[in-house]
Amino acid sequence: MIDLVQTLGSGILVGLVYALLGLCIVIIFKASEAFNFAIGEFLILGSFLFYVLFFNETLPWHRALPLGALIFLFFSYVLFFDISARFLIALPSGLVTGFLIFCVLFFGLNLPSLVPSPLLRFIIAFPLGLLAAGIVGSMVERITIKPLLGRSPISMTIVTLGLGFFLRGCIQLIWGSHAYPFFLDLPDITIEMGDFLFLSDPIWAGILSLLTFGLVIVFLFRTRWGLAIRATSEDQAKAMAFGINARFILLIVWAISALCIAVAGIMISNFGALQVGMGFVGLRAIPVVLIGGMDSIGGALVGGVIVGMCEALAGAYLEPMGLIGFKDVAPYILLLIVLFIRPYGLFGTVRIERV
């Protein structure tokens, strides 16, 4: 009994991270009806961006300079064409941003020497890393997704498939494919009560994921921007007709999604080490969203927890029976069962039927 509770508890904590991954898929699916298959690559990318800021990793100039130039081009482009700023404002601000990024990449932020306390360092680097991930997400959206607005969602989905390979190649070129040690050194909050033991890292992962999840929900359901996103996710044409700039909304959605994936990525890296091969964890989002329902935000949370628990149970009870590796398959078997019973997922849209 104690064993069971222990297993379920750990499963739920990991499941919360999966829920966050599911949320990223769901909001993009709602906004553009496309499935983002590049989620694994966004996950590694977000983790690497955080890594650069947190651990003072520097790049040689022939890698840092092209990245800086890319940021400069993108920033000027967005400011000029999307926010329709004047050319004289757009160009210098893009230049400044690109130069700052280059400096950070080339010289390093040197946070460890500036801020000795690891918690404080985390508090500074975490939002910065997420911001960077969000910017990269919107950059990718501008270049690959925006031209497809109004076209079939399938073409967008296919683009994300190719995008995944491209991003993976880029990450390997920039940071190589070896493993980076990843240790956040957050305050120890290990819970040890009687026979129960919950380790500090999964608890932190669960808390931060849940917090991010909550913030995204507050953003979606309490702010006017969230209202515009929900309207656009229902029908892009209608939204455009009522003065909501669907292209800009899509940009924001991708930025939020990339940001959330980065949170999940940092938490997952913290369980072990960071390396390019880690991207496959992102695909764990597929059973999560299919079980919960492709277009349900609450479904992502429930689906994530279910997948986490299923994985933990399979790992604790089935693998010792000789089924090594069954842990990774179990969520998919559960997914099959759920799809047989409810093809739209547990919380898939209840279609409005007027009477």
Binding site: E234, A237, A241, I352
Partner: protein
């Protein structure tokens, strides 16, 4: 004043829908555009509102001018914000999964001022049916309520010109009458209205001036009275006209007048 000059629009690079259409919308009037299905009425409104690009259409010739400045090729959001042209799409363009209040809020997204609440009250003033159900999802509202909500949402954008695409689509005659009386009320508050309709009789009842569109061209224009009395309009759009009964065989398009002028 909105003027459309010799507009030609092509969908997917091959389907020519508007073949050189020209018309003028004077400030403060109710302009009626009638035409059969596929005549290009909706395409005309899409071009004016800047939505045409979204539907993979291209304006290949001609110009759309608002008080002399060209608005051709601008983004839909820009046209709405700068020139106050709001397009109410056909088939009740409301967000089904948002509540009625949220629908109105979403439509006011393009403005940043604080008067949204007051404007919402104004909309509820025009459409009192909506007030008691403002917490309800719009998808569960009836057809008439949805169309009223759609017009209410258009009002939230503070339009100068309102482009209405078949507001009477699928509504009972009594509701249509109510809707049209509200539309002419709106016209009293200095909103120019362009009304595209199949229901020619009801529409010409509230409009001063009208155009007949066929095959992407204007084939007839005149005051509402003139159009109502026109022999061809009576035959094709009002279902009356000549006294003797006609079989549907003879109503084919190629049997119609080849030249209108």
């Amino acid at each position: 004043m909105l003027s459309i000059e010799n507009l030609r629009v092509v969908y997917h690079d091959v389907i020519s829908v508007l073949n050189g259409i020209s018309l003028e919308v004077k400030d403060g009037e109710v302009l009626i555009i009638i035409g059969a299905n596929g005549a290009g009425k909706t395409t005309l409104l899409r071009s004016v509102s800047g939505m045409i690009e979204f539907y993979d259409g291209d304006i290949i010739e001609g110009d759309i001018k608002m008080d002399g400045t060209s608005i051709k090729g601008l983004d839909a959001t820009d046209i709405m914000k700068r020139y106050g042209v709001t397009y109410v799409m056909e088939d009740r363009p409301v967000f089904w999964y948002l509540t009625i209040e949220e629908n109105l809020g979403a439509a006011s997204f393009s403005r940043w001022d604080k008067r949204v609440k007051a404007d919402m009250e104004e909309v509820f003033g025009y459409f009192p049916v909506l007030r008691p159900m403002k917490g309800k999802r719009a998808g569960y509202a009836s057809g008439g309520e949805q169309q009223m909500l759609a017009i209410g949402m258009a009002l939230m954008t503070k339009p100068k010109i309102l482009l209405l695409d078949e507001p009477s689509l699928g509504l009972a005659p009594l509701i249509t009458e109510e809707l049209f009386s509200i539309i002419s009320q709106l016209n009293q508050t200095d909103i120019t209205i362009v009304l595209v309709e199949q229901n020619a009789h009801a529409a010409l009842g509230i409009g001063k001036r009208g155009y007949v569109v066929e095959m992407g061209r204007i084939v007839l224009d005149g005051t509402a009275q003139e159009l109502l009395e026109n022999e061809d309009v009576r035959e094709f759009y009002l279902g009356s006209g000549k006294k003797e009964r006609k079989s549907y065989k003879d109503a084919k398009r190629y049997k119609r007048r080849k030249r209108w002028l």
